[in-house]
Each structure stands twice: as C-alpha cells, then as structure tokens.
Symmetry: C2
Subunit: 96 residues, 2 copies
C-alpha cells in the first residue's frame, strides 16, 4: 500500500515537472518576443521596475508553503535565465 | 500597435508566472506527502538517484531554448526549495 502510494505520488511529481518545463519554455518564448518589441521601440530589455512588480505580484499571491523569500529567489532565477538567453542571441547576432 | 502588443505579451507573462507559482506550490505539497510516506517506510527523504533521474528525464524532454545546464540548474533550485521546506518542518516538530 505504502509503496504503491509512493509510486503514485512520484508519478504526479513527474507530471508536474514536465508541466513546469513546458511553462518555463513557453515563458522564454514570450520574453524573446517582448525583447523584439522592445528593440523596435528602442528601450532596454531588462526593466528592474517591471521585474520588481512581477515579483511583488507573485509574493502577494503566495499562500505558502514557500516563504516569500524563497518565491522571490526561485522566480529571480527563472527571470534571469530568460534574460541570459537573449544576451546569447544578441551576441550571436553581433558575430554574424 | 507596438505598445499594445507589449501590453498583451506582458499579460501573457503574468498569467504564466501565476501558473508557475501554482505548480510549484502543488509540487511542494506532493513532496511533503512523499516525505510522510518515506517516514513510514523509514527511508531518507533525499534520494540523489531519484533526483538525478528526474533531472535527466527533464533534460531528455528539453527542446530549448534553454540549455540542458540551465534546465538542470533551475530544477535543482526548485527541488532544493521543496526539500528545505521539509527540513524546517522536521525542526519545528523537534522543537514542540
């Protein structure tokens, strides 16, 4: 019974991992598109005010179990990864 | 047009952020339940082999734009946060 339950819970965890991967990937595509729009307007890609607003919105919706600091930390990593991706793209463009 | 598009894309990003928060929260609940089952069986909560398998499963499904290393890094942070949560719970129990 317990071993079965463990297997079931692990299956649920695997499904959530894949959903997270899909969402993070989709998020990166949107960030890339925002970057293109910003390039047209001529504004900088990294906007610390907007990042701060997104983090505060997330924290305001956080009902635990994670602390607000943990939520900030995890999302900052996700935000940074998407921005770093664009840096690489820009560098590639410069090299062509 | 461009400003409107930016607003639209930002709205999409906000929605994805909330979905990510919900999934990470749901994930933490499942990890907590796995911890309880493991406590019954008497096995350790942190299983490096299982963590490695989950990471490799994610990397095998990763079709970019993130590098495999970035996916490993982001998910290790998510995994660690869930485990840290349980440590705090255990410490609380010891203090009662």
């Amino acid at each position: 019974m317990t071993a079965e339950r463990l297997k079931e819970l692990r299956g649920q965890l695997d499904d959530i991992n894949i959903e997270l991967l899909d969402l993070i990937t989709k998020r990166a595509e949107i960030v890339a598109e925002i970057g293109k729009v910003k390039a047209k307007i001529g504004t900088k890609r990294f906007d610390p005010v907007r990042e701060s607003q997104m983090l505060e919105e997330l924290v305001s919706r956080n009902n635990g179990p994670f602390s607000d600091d943990t939520i900030r930390h995890l999302f900052k990593q996700i935000f940074k990864a998407s921005l770093d991706l664009q840096k690489t793209d820009q560098q590639k463009e410069l090299l062509v």
